[in-house]
């Protein structure tokens, strides 16, 4: 089994299992049923999305880029965006979050809905919100996903620490954009 830690993504055509534990972040599982290629990403959109929608929003671009990394890996392996299907998990409203973080989690759910509608990628399973962590296992070549709700935080204490560190890091760096190279 390959473990996908917060902020990571991985795509493969191997017969294997990908796994993660997500709290406030989202876990996106994508698979191309025709080519039997799939992958998993674990990320958060680090802020509130404006009323104009994700195509006009600078914060949403961070989420679009997270999706691009995952889909790009699937395309490099021979997958086709037009055949992708999605299973999405997470965006939990955990007990310790404040009002602002609650709004950001709402924005993450909205981001996923708008993004998959624009991409015309069918979401075959959506398990978002609620006030619990989720352990997710995903078989990338078949698209089969298993989700278990985490009743006790001690069951995934390492993931809780890593996810909080990741969230702190992306919120601190949310204004960071890509480099430019001009050749002429």
């Amino acid at each position: 089994m390959y473990v996908i830690y917060p902020g990571e993504y991985f795509a493969t055509r191997a017969d294997c299992v990908l796994g993660t534990v997500t709290g406030s972040c989202v876990c996106v599982c994508l698979y191309d049923e025709v080519k039997r290629i799939g992958g998993m990403g674990h990320f958060i959109v680090p802020g509130m999305i404006g009323t104009e929608g994700i195509i006009a929003d600078e914060i949403a671009k961070q989420g679009i880029t997270s999706m691009e990394y995952l889909i790009g890996e699937i395309v490099k392996l021979g997958g086709d965006r037009r055949f992708l299907k999605a299973k999405i998990f997470g965006a939990g409203y955990l007990k310790m979050i404040n009002v602002e973080m609650g709004g950001i989690i709402n924005s993450n759910i909205r981001f996923l809905n708008e993004y998959f509608a624009l991409e015309r990628i069918q979401v075959v399973r959506e398990d978002l919100g609620g006030n619990f962590r989720r352990k997710v296992y995903f078989v990338p070549i078949t698209g089969v996903a298993y989700r278990r709700l985490q009743k006790r935080n001690e069951d995934s204490s390492e993931f809780i620490r890593l996810e909080q560190e990741y969230i702190d890091r992306v919120f601190k760096n949310k204004e960071r954009y890509g480099k430019v190279y001009i050749f002429e």
Partner: protein, 123 residues
């Protein structure tokens, strides 16, 4: 009339780029991969119009961005090509430059950042 081509297999990226540069006053043509772009460019040139610049992704099905640039350079040596991608490895950037790209912008992009590069290229 001169067109700006936006070539990406992601509808979200195509719409987002078009939204960012729509006020420049150039007609924008979208394409979902290199093959699709070459067909649309042939149509545009066949009608007596031209290409102001191309903005293209790297990883696309049917024809990737680097192959597209090589093919595009056979029919247009001068129109700038900006690569807009998540790819940041030096080997990939060098391959883009060698193929004839004019610039390389790594996602995520800021709207003002993209606008200033496009304005620099087309004016």
């Amino acid at each position: 009339m001169k067109y700006i081509m936006v070539i990406d297999d992601s509808p979200t990226i195509r719409v987002s780029v078009e939204f960012t540069i729509k006020n420049l006053g150039y007609p924008i043509q979208q394409a979902e991969n290199g093959n699709d772009a070459l067909k649309k460019i042939a149509d545009i040139k066949g009608k007596g119009d031209d290409i102001a610049m191309c903005i293209c992704d790297v990883n696309m099905p049917e024809m990737d961005g680097i192959t597209f640039i090589k093919e595009f350079r056979k029919i247009d040596k001068f129109a700038p090509v900006l690569v807009l991608t998540t790819e940041s490895e030096n080997d990939k950037i060098k391959a883009g430059k060698d193929a004839g790209a004019s610039g390389w912008l790594i996602k995520p992009f800021k709207a003002e950042q993209l606008m200033s590069i496009v304005e620099k290229f087309i004016r």
